[in-house]
Amino acid sequence: MKQHQKHIESIMALIRTRDEQEFVQEAVSMLERSVNQPTTFGKIIQSRVPEHCAHAMNRVFEDEALKGNTEQLRKFLETLKKSIGAMRVLTLDIAFSPSEKDIDAINSWVVGNVGSDVVLDFTHDATIGGGAKIMFEGRYTEKTLRQKIEQVFEKERERILQTIL
């Protein structure tokens, strides 16, 4: 069981965004429907799961404990599906469209600092300049460049006005 939990956490750690969460969840549903034909798993994972997750998932299903034990496999898939569905969402309103590299970097930070059960949801707002507006579990904070510049201007208002007038 401990091994199963480890497998689940390793898969969740690879799910970076809301889109990937949906793809993997859909793939797990298909695996559940094909639980009596484990030989088709590789094909389903290959076609339905994002590439960076597919390798890890394939490795999980090669585990001896899961092989040939349909009932255990069914239970594992059920737990995996529930765990993926229950992942927490971290919404980041950012000024740019993140590349795969950016997503990887941010996800690594989130897995290391917040938890492996967190998926990222990116929205785009160019007016914030840089940084992010962060929403997580009903909380909100703004850590943007726009806000920082406003704070500087507010603090240095008199000096700035004296300079420009």
Binding site: G129, G130, G138
Partner: protein, 243 residues
């Protein structure tokens, strides 16, 4: 009672006489019939002749009547024309006489009216002159009376007017001074407000330009760095801690 049968015996002379009478009657009857038939034929011809005669007479009478009636109509027309002519002459004459009479009448009336108008104008002129004299006299008396009455109060009135004018002048000067002060205050406040608005506008423009310029100046690496720093800050503030 019975009748003697010998009364019924006819004698030959009696029979002969009867025969003669009968023949005479027969002859007479034949003659009468012949005469009647002849008379019948004669009457038909005569009647035809009479009819023709009657037609001729009626035609003649009609012709005569037509001729007579034409003559009567012509006479009537001639008579009517005559009457019309006479009437026209009479009317012309009567109209002319009427016009003459009217002319004479209107001339007389005009003269009479002119005379009356002259009399009326004279009378009106006289009355007007009298009224004017009376009015002039009354006015003169009234003016003299008013002059006498007002001469006394005029000096008092003049001083009252002078005092009131001075008081009003002072009031106006005070109000003007107040308005002037208020206006100066308002202008000063407006000036400060306007300058503040200008300052604020410049400040906002500068802020906006700085934000946009700095935002655009960042490359992807910088953005990623800012992102991670934002998350670090949030973590440092306990944003990801348990509620």
């Amino acid at each position: 009672m019975s009748i003697d049968p010998q009364y019924f015996i006819i004698t030959f002379p009696q029979l002969l006489g009867a025969a003669v009478v009968a023949v005479v009657f027969l002859v007479l009857a034949v003659l009468a019939g012949a005469a009647f038939i002849k008379h019948l034929f004669l009457t038909q011809e005569e009647s035809e002749k009479i009819k023709q005669e009657a037609r001729r007479e009626s035609a003649t009478m009609l012709e005569e009547a037509r001729t007579e009636s034409s003559r009567i109509v012509e006479n009537a027309n001639a008579e009517a024309a005559n009457i019309l002519r006479e009437t026209h002459v009479l009317v012309s004459r009567a109209t002319k006489e009427l016009e003459e009479e009217f002319h004479v009448f209107s001339q007389k009336e005009s003269d009479r009216l002119r005379e009356a108008a002259t009399h009326f104008a004279d009378a009106y002129q006289l009355m007007t002159k009298q009224a004017k004299d009376v009015y002039a006299e009354a006015t003169k008396r009234a003016v003299e009376a008013i002059g006498r009455e007002t001469a006394g109060g005029l000096s008092h009135f003049s001083s009252a007017v002078e005092n009131e004018t001075k008081r009003y002048q002072r009031s106006v000067d005070e109000r003007l001074e107040e308005w002037h002060k208020d206006a100066q205050k308002e202008i000063a406040a407006y000036k400060v407000n306007a300058l503040e608005k200008v300052d604020e506008s410049i400040y906002r423009v500068l802020l906006m330009v700085s934000q946009q310029a700095i935002g655009r100046a960042l490359d992807f690496k910088d953005h990623q760095g800012f992102m991670v720093r934002a998350l670090e800050e949030a973590k440092h503030e306990g944003f990801f801690g348990k509620l």
